[in-house]
């Protein structure tokens, strides 16, 4: 009975407040709420910085370039279209580290049949391709790009860039065996990254290639 009375009275008070306009705001209550929420927010923020790992969803960039002697620049065009046993090709590759962490790269250059498919998940196996150079020939440790460096375009020098590297593409009878008499081939540039957990290189899924006729 007492409870019922109290509930009725409270309802009456609420009704009068709503009728008069907005309910009376208590600054002390609001201040307390603000302090409580800001403290909870600060604790969550600090904990996330301390305990959560850095988000490292970056990427790497691999480009294949040729040298334009007239303009003294490296350009992504004028690619050669044939190779022979007697004529070598000079090409340049460039790698940029946008991975948000220090990365140890290895570039593998492989010769394969033109009909060979290239996968993003698996590297070319050595049963259907030949390595042009030994594994250690092209290796580099790069610092990650800074925020400013990420916004720059067309840069070719910096400690996050594996500056255009001169590489000679060649063919010999040993390499030609893999082609099985075909008159065209594919030279694939695969980018590998070192994984400290397994202490070995892993295929990054990043590649580029040249299709050439062979005579």
């Amino acid at each position: 009975m007492v409870k019922n009375k109290m509930a009725k009275r409270n309802n009456k008070i609420d009704d009068t407040n709503t009728k008069k306009g907005l309910p009376k705001i208590n600054p002390k209550k609001i201040m307390t709420l603000v302090i409580v929420f800001s403290t909870i927010g600060a604790i969550i923020a600090i904990a996330s910085i301390v305990f959560l790992p850095n988000q490292q969803n970056g990427f790497s960039e691999l480009s294949l370039l040729t040298y334009n002697a007239a303009e003294e620049t490296y350009v992504a065009n004028n690619y050669p279209n044939q190779i022979s046993l007697s004529d070598n090709i000079t090409m340049f590759f460039m790698v940029k580290n946008f991975e948000n962490k220090i990365t140890y790269y290895q570039l593998q250059i492989k010769v394969t049949k033109i009909s060979q498919n290239i996968s993003l998940e698996h590297p070319l196996s050595l049963s259907n391709s030949n390595l042009l150079y030994s594994n250690e020939t092209y290796e580099k440790i790069l610092a990650p790009a800074t925020i400013n460096e990420k916004e720059e375009e067309g840069e070719q020098i910096g400690d996050y860039i594996w500056s255009p590297v001169n590489t000679t593409l060649f063919m010999n009878n040993t390499l030609a065996v893999i082609l099985g008499g075909d008159d065209s081939l594919k030279i694939v540039f695969e980018l590998w990254k070192y994984n400290s957990l397994i202490e070995d290189f892993q295929y990054s899924g990043i590649f580029t290639f040249l299709e050439l006729s062979f005579n």
């Binding site: 009975m1 007492v2 009375k5 109290m6 009275r9 002390k28 307390t32 302090i35 403290t39 600090i46 850095n54 962490k101 220090i102 140890y104 030994s134 250690e136 020939t137 290796e139 580099k140 440790i141 790069l142 610092a143 990650p144 400690d159 070192y194 400290s196 202490e199």
Partner: protein, 173 residues
């Protein structure tokens, strides 16, 4: 007599030649083994340094210089490996040793950086701890001094408005 002397000289020369070639082969084999060992040591050290570098969160100018030096050591190791394949063991040893020394210096530098980072972390955590303690005391103070009395006052106000009506039993006046 003369024939005997010639034979003797011939035998001595052959023995000497054999001795020299065996000694050379021994030294060559020893160099090969040594080169292999030092290259392996340098490669292992490179792995250690890489793991240490990956743990650094703040990649500032100083760390970038260290990364460049590590890359330089990597190139030296790869040169040593190439020289080893070409059977130039002495030069290979030299290159691998150079890389190893460089990597040991880098390891020390990274250890120093990590040490200073740990000190900085301690400072930051201490500040956070002290601030949190003050905040806690502040809340307790606020609760005891302001919120609790306000709640009590409000309670009294609410209960003060209550009207107690006793139910009368049947037959009572």
């Amino acid at each position: 007599m003369r024939n005997k002397l010639v034979n003797h000289v011939l035998v001595c020369s052959i023995t000497l030649l054999l001795f020299i070639s065996f000694t050379n082969y021994g030294t060559f084999a020893q160099s090969e083994e040594e080169a292999e060992q030092i290259i392996q040591q340098a490669s292992d050290k490179l792995k250690t340094v890489l793991s240490m570098l990956e743990e650094i969160r703040d990649i500032n100018t100083e760390v970038r210089v260290i990364i460049s030096q590590t890359d330089n050591s990597l190139q030296l190791i790869n040169e040593a490996k190439q020289l080893f394949r070409d059977a130039q063991y002495d030069v290979s040893i030299q290159k691998a040793n150079q890389a190893l020394t460089q990597l040991e210096d880098i390891e020390e530098e990274i250890a120093k950086i990590n040490e200073s980072t740990i000190k900085e972390s301690w400072l930051i955590y201490s500040i956070i701890g002290v601030v949190s303690a003050f905040a806690t005391f502040g809340f307790v103070f606020l609760f005891i001094k302001k919120i609790h009395p306000w709640y009590k006052r409000k309670q009294i106000e609410e209960y003060g408005n209550l009207e107690i009506i006793y139910d009368r039993k049947h037959g009572e006046k």
